[in-house]
C-alpha cells in the first residue's frame, strides 16, 4: 500500500474498530423513492422554454463519399429551424473517447472523427441534422434532404479486416492496414522466449475463440440537450459517465474555450460504459449555435443500436505451456478486436485487455500481443469489462480444455495455477490481497461442485436429448487504471449552518448507488446520518474534477477521496470545538452530530454551534467556512476477483441451452453497501448470460446494416428466462481500499460467459466450443457432430 496514505489507513482502522454505523448497511439507493414515484427527471423529461427537437440523417451506406447534399426542401418545411451538414461543421478532427486533454495514454489514441465529414464510413454515420419545433417535423425534414453518394469499397467482417490486403475502412489505419493506433505487445519476457517456453513445455495447448459484438442495452436511450446562448456559453446536459472528459472533447470539436462549455450529468437510466464517450452532443451544440435555442435529441431504439457504441467483437488465440506437475509455465495471448469505423476506445481497450493477461494466473512467462482493427461497421467503445470479457471467456474455455486433456478437475487445476495473496506476478507486481483461491474453495463447497459434476456425468450416458453440465471459471478486474495513467478525484465536503453537510463530487452515479455509497462513507466519519449529507454530482462548472464513472474506480477512488475530505472536515470541527470547550483536541471525538469530550461526555457541543462559532469567530479563531477539499491519487494497482459456478441443461436435438443455477463468489474486500453491491452483481450476471447465450448484434456482411436493431430481435434475458442466481462474498478487506473495499461493477460480468460455456461443454461430453453466443443452431451442430 502506498506510504503516503499510511496515516489515513490507520485512521480508518480506528473508525472500524469503534464499530461501523453506516458502512456495511444495506441502505436503499438514495433516489429510489423518487424513481418509484415516477417523479425523478431523466434528461428526456427535462422541458426548456423554446426547446427544439433534433433528428439526425444517418448514412444508409457502409462507405461512401458525399458528392452533393441539398437541404433546401428540408429548410423550407414549416417548423424547421436549422439544418446542418459537413459544410457547417468545424474542420476539427478529434477522438470521442479521449480521456485526457493532454494525451497521457501510453496507447496511441488516433483522432479520426469529425462532427460531420464529407465521407461516411458505416451505416449509421452522421450525414446531416435538423432542429425543428417537434419530433414529427424533424423526422419529416430529414427525409427531404437529398444526398448523392459515391459508393466506396468497404470491409465489414473482422476476419476480412485483419488480412494484409484488406480494403481500408478509413484513411487512418497504420501503414495502409486496418490497424487502429498500433499493436500493444509486451510481456514478462521477449515474445519469442515465451512462445518457445510454450512449445518446449511438457504439454502445449493452442485455442482460438470468437466473441460477438453486443450492445449495452441500457433502458434509457441516448439523449442530449445543448443550449448555446448569445454570451458564447454552451451548456450540455447529457446522461453520460464523464463530464470533464466530455468538456474536453466537445470544446475541442467546436474550437471553444473550456470556460465557455459546461457539461451537466443528468439522472442516468443505465450506461454500463455505453455513455462514456461523446456521441451526438456536438451535433445538438451546432444546431443550438444556429438557433440560440435549447435543442434536444433522443435516439430511437433502432438508431441507438447502430449509432451509439457496442462491445468490441474479438478473435483471440491463446497458447499455453504446462509442466508435468500441472503448472502453467508460459502463456501467449494474441487478440484482434473490431473497433468499427473510427478509433474511439480501440487501442485503450486493447491496452486494458492486455493488463488482464498477467493478474489471474501465476505463470512466470507471459506475453500479450493485440490490436484493434477498423471496419465499416458501428463504433465499438467502452462496455462493462472493457476488453476483459473477451480475454476471460477465451482463456477460461482454453483452461477448461487443458484441465480436461490432462485429467484435472477444472476447479482444482485453476486453484493450483491462480495468483495468491501478496505474491509477485510475472511482471513483478504485488498481487495485494488477491483472494481468488478462497473464492474457488467457497464456490466448490456451496455449489456442491464435485457431487453435482459426477451426477451430471452419470446421467448423461444414454441417448437422451436433455443432458446436464456443470462448469466454472475465474475472472479478475481492476480498481481504476493505476499505473497506466493518472487516476485522481477531488471531493469537497462543506458543513451547512444547521450541522448537516454537502458533498460535491465529479463522480457519476449511473444508478448503481455510487452516491449512496459515498454518503455512507462520509457519514461514518462525520457521524451525520447519510440522508443528511447532500450529494451534488458531476457538473463541470460546479463540482471538483473527476475522471469519470469507468474502470470500476468509483468506490475505490471516490471512496478514498471521501475519507480524506471527511477526515479533514472532522479535524476542523474538532479544532473549533476545542477552542469553544477549552479541551485539548486529542480528547475530542465526533458523536451523532456533536463534538464530545471523551473523558467528560457531558462536555459537548453540537455541529450547528461549531459551525456558528467558526463563522462568527466567537471562540477566538478567524471567521471562516468549514469546508474541506481533498484530492485522492491512486498509487496502488489492486484487483477484484470472482469464481463463477454454473449448471446448464442442454437439449441436444434443439440445441437449446437452459441455465439452471448460477453462483458468483466475489472477492471485493469490505462491502460498503450489501444491497447496492448485490444488485450490481445480479445485473452483471444478467449481462454475462446474454453474452454467453442470446445476445449478438448481427451485421449484414454485404450492406453493413445492423439486421436486428430492436429488442424483439436483439434478445436480452427476460424475467422468466433467468435462472436462479446467487451471490457470495469473500469479504477480506483490501488495505488500500476505502474501509477495505474493492470494486464490483465490471467484475460482476467478466466471468459469467466462461462458466456457462464450460458447463455446456461439460454437458456435451467435453466438446470444444470456440465462439459465443451459444445459439441453438451452433449447439445443435456441435451436438450432432459430437454424436457421429
Amino acid at each position: 500500500m502506498a506510504e503516503r496514505y499510511r496515516e489515513m489507513k490507520i485512521f480508518e482502522k480506528e473508525i472500524a474498530e469503534r464499530g461501523f454505523r453506516y458502512v456495511g448497511q444495506p441502505l436503499p439507493n438514495r433516489e429510489a423513492e423518487m424513481k418509484a414515484a415516477g417523479e425523478i427527471r431523466y434528461i428526456d423529461d427535462l422541458r426548456m422554454p423554446g426547446m427544439l427537437h433534433a433528428k439526425i440523417l444517418f448514412s444508409p451506406h457502409a462507405h461512401a463519399r458525399i458528392v452533393s447534399i441539398d437541404t433546401s426542401k428540408a429548410e423550407a418545411l414549416d417548423g424547421v429551424r436549422a439544418v446542418v451538414t459537413w459544410k457547417d461543421a468545424p474542420r476539427i478532427i478529434f477522438n470521442s473517447a479521449m480521456r485526457f486533454y493532454m494525451d497521457t495514454s501510453p496507447f496511441d489514441m488516433p483522432k479520426t472523427e469529425y462532427i460531420f465529414d464529407d465521407t461516411v464510413r458505416f451505416v449509421g454515420d452522421r450525414v446531416a441534422a435538423v432542429a425543428a419545433d417537434d419530433e414529427f417535423i424533424a423526422a419529416q425534414a430529414i427525409k427531404l434532404i437529398d444526398v448523392e453518394y459515391e459508393i466506396l469499397p468497404s470491409v465489414i467482417r473482422l476476419e476480412d479486416a485483419i488480412q494484409p490486403d484488406a480494403v481500408q475502412a478509413n484513411p487512418y489505419g497504420v501503414d495502409g492496414s486496418n490497424i487502429c493506433g498500433g499493436r500493444v505487445a509486451y510481456g514478462s519476457h521477449d515474445e519469442d522466449e515465451v512462445l518457445r517456453a510454450v512449445e518446449e513445455a511438457e504439454y502445449s495447448f493452442d485455442d482460438t475463440f470468437h466473441t460477438s459484438r453486443v450492445h449495452h442495452g441500457y433502458m434509457e436511450p441516448v439523449t442530449h440537450i445543448a443550449h448555446y446562448t448569445r454570451d458564447g456559453k454552451l451548456t450540455i446536459w447529457t446522461s453520460g459517465q464523464n463530464v470533464f472528459c466530455f468538456r474536453d472533447v466537445i470544446a475541442t470539436s467546436l474550437g471553444m474555450k473550456q470556460s465557455r462549455v459546461r457539461v451537466i450529468k443528468t439522472v442516468c437510466g443505465g450506461a454500463f460504459g455505453g455513455k462514456l464517450e461523446v456521441m451526438h452532443e456536438p451535433v445538438v451544440a451546432l444546431l443550438s449555435m444556429k438557433t440560440l435555442r435549447p435543442v434536444k435529441i433522443r435516439l430511437t431504439r433502432q438508431e441507438n443500436f447502430m449509432a451509439s457504441r457496442t462491445r468490441h467483437e474479438g478473435i483471440l488465440r491463446i497458447r499455453t505451456g504446462v509442466d508435468k506437475n500441472g503448472t502453467i509455465v508460459a502463456q501467449h495471448v494474441e487478440s484482434a478486436l473490431n473497433t468499427g469505423a473510427y478509433a474511439g476506445s480501440g487501442p485503450n481497450t486493447v491496452g486494458a485487455q492486455s493488463g488482464k493477461t498477467f493478474i489471474l494466473y501465476g505463470a512466470q512467462k507471459m506475453f500479450y500481443s493485440g490490436a484493434s482493427y477498423y471496419t465499416n461497421t458501428p463504433l465499438a467503445g467502452a462496455m462493462r469489462g472493457y476488453g476483459c470479457p473477451q480475454i476471460m471467456v477465451t482463456r477460461e474455455t482454453h483452461t477448461e480444455n487443458i484441465a480436461r486433456a490432462l485429467g484435472y478437475d477444472p476447479a482444482e487445476f485453476r486453484r493450483m495455477n491462480v495468483v495468491k495473496p501478496h505474491h509477485k506476478n510475472c511482471m513483478g507486481n504485488d498481487m495485494h490481497n488477491a483472494r481468488i483461491v478462497d473464492c474457488i474453495d467457497r464456490g466448490v463447497e456451496l455449489f456442491d461442485w464435485k457431487r453435482r459434476r459426477a451426477r451430471a456425468e452419470d446421467g448423461n450416458d444414454g441417448a437422451q436429448a436433455i443432458v446436464h453440465g456443470i462448469g466454472m471459471d475465474v475472472a479478475v478486474h481492476g480498481n481504476g487504471w493505476y499505473p497506466v495513467y493518472q487516476d485522481i478525484t477531488t471531493i469537497t465536503l462543506r458543513m451547512n449552518n444547521d450541522g448537516t453537510a454537502t458533498l460535491l463530487t465529479g463522480t457519476h452515479d449511473l444508478g448503481t448507488g455510487a452516491k449512496t455509497v459515498l454518503s455512507q462513507i462520509a457519514a461514518e466519519i462525520l457521524t451525520i446520518p447519510p440522508g443528511e449529507i447532500e450529494i451534488i454530482e458531476a457538473d463541470t462548472d460546479v463540482t471538483p474534477l473527476d475522471l469519470g464513472a469507468q474502470a470500476s474506480r468509483t468506490t475505490y477512488i471516490g471512496g478514498n477521496a471521501t475519507i480524506m475530505a471527511a477526515r479533514n472536515l472532522r479535524g476542523q470541527l474538532i479544532k473549533e470545538a476545542a477552542s469553544m470547550l477549552k479541551v485539548p483536541k486529542d480528547r475530542l471525538e465526533l458523536e451523532e452530530c456533536f463534538v464530545v469530550d471523551r473523558e467528560e461526555p457531558d462536555t459537548r457541543v453540537s455541529f450547528e454551534d461549531v459551525v456558528g462559532s467558526a463563522q462568527d469567530g466567537s471562540a477566538g479563531n478567524p471567521q471562516r467556512e468549514l469546508i474541506a477539499t481533498e484530492t485522492f491519487e491512486s498509487l496502488d494497482s489492486i484487483d477484484s476477483y470472482v469464481a463463477v459456478f454454473c449448471e446448464v441443461e442442454v437439449n441436444r436435438q434443439s440445441g437449446e441451452v437452459k441455465v439452471i443455477d448460477l453462483l458468483s463468489v466475489h472477492n471485493s474486500g469490505k462491502v460498503i453497501n450489501p444491497a447496492t453491491y448485490e444488485g450490481q452483481v445480479h445485473g452483471g450476471m444478467h449481462m454475462g448470460l446474454g453474452y454467453a447465450l442470446s445476445e449478438e448484434m448481427l451485421i449484414d456482411s454485404e450492406s453493413g446494416k445492423v439486421s436486428n436493431p430492436t429488442f424483439k430481435k436483439y434478445h436480452m434475458f427476460r424475467a422468466s428466462e433467468m435462472p436462479k442466481i446467487h451471490v457470495e462474498t469473500v469479504e477480506d478487506p483490501e488495505e488500500a481500499g476505502p474501509f477495505g473495499a474493492k470494486s464490483i461493477g465490471e467484475c460482476a460480468t467478466d466471468g459469467i460467459a466462461g462458466a456457462v460455456v464450460n458447463a455446456v461443454s461439460h454437458a456435451l461430453g467435453g466438446v470444444k466450443l470456440d465462439r459465443i453466443p451459444l445459439t441453438p443452431e451452433y449447439i445443435k451442430e456441435v451436438a450432432a457432430g459430437n454424436k457421429s
Binding site: E33, K35, A36, G270, M687, A719
Partner: protein
C-alpha cells in the same frame, strides 16, 4: 395545412378530460409531451421493452404503440396515478425496500405491470410474477429484487387486508 384532429374523452389518473389529439400521437406522446406526465418512459417505441407501460382499463399495455385517437371512453392510469394521498403505495414502497431500483428507468413500467398482476392475482407464485414481468426489460437488476419486491408487496397487501 392544419393537421387533422380527433376528439377523445378519456379519464387519466382519475380525471376526465376532453382532448383534441392528432393522428401521429401515441398514448405515450400524449401523456409525456402533451400532459407532462413524464414518469412513463420511451424505451424502444416498438412494443418490446415495457418502459412505457400504463394501465388502460386496468390492463398493462405499452403506450408507445397505442394511437391516442383510439382512447375515447378509456380509463388510463400512469405511474403518477398510483400514489395514495401523496405517499408511495404498497407496491412502490416494496420496490424501494427490496432494493429493486437501480437506474430506475424500467421501474415505472415494472410497477404498472405488477399492479395489473396483483389486481388479478393477489397471491402470485414466483413463476407467475416472472411471467407477468416478461414484457418489461431491465438491464440493471437481473430481475432478482424486482421479483422479490412484487412478492413483498403481495404479502404486505395480504397483511393489510387481514389486519
Amino acid at each position: 395545412m392544419a393537421e387533422e384532429e380527433f376528439s377523445v374523452n378519456v379519464t387519466i389518473n382519475g380525471t376526465p378530460m376532453s382532448l383534441q389529439v392528432r393522428r401521429k400521437w401515441t398514448l405515450l406522446y400524449l401523456v409525456r409531451e402533451v400532459l407532462g406526465l413524464t414518469g412513463t418512459k420511451y424505451g424502444c417505441g416498438t412494443n418490446d421493452c415495457g418502459a412505457c407501460k400504463v394501465l388502460v382499463d386496468g390492463k398493462a399495455v405499452n403506450s408507445c404503440v397505442i394511437p391516442a385517437k383510439n382512447l375515447d371512453g378509456k380509463c388510463v392510469v400512469t405511474i403518477e396515478g398510483l400514489q395514495e394521498n401523496g405517499q408511495l403505495n404498497i407496491l412502490q414502497q416494496a420496490f424501494v425496500d427490496a432494493g429493486a431500483i437501480q437506474c430506475g428507468f424500467c421501474t415505472p413500467g415494472m410497477i404498472i405491470s405488477a399492479t395489473a398482476l396483483l389486481r388479478e392475482n393477489p397471491d402470485p407464485s414466483e413463476e407467475e410474477i416472472r411471467k407477468a414481468l416478461d414484457g418489461n426489460l431491465c438491464r440493471c437488476t437481473g430481475y432478482v429484487n424486482i421479483v422479490k419486491a412484487v412478492a413483498l408487496a403481495a404479502e404486505r397487501m395480504k397483511e393489510q387486508n387481514h389486519g
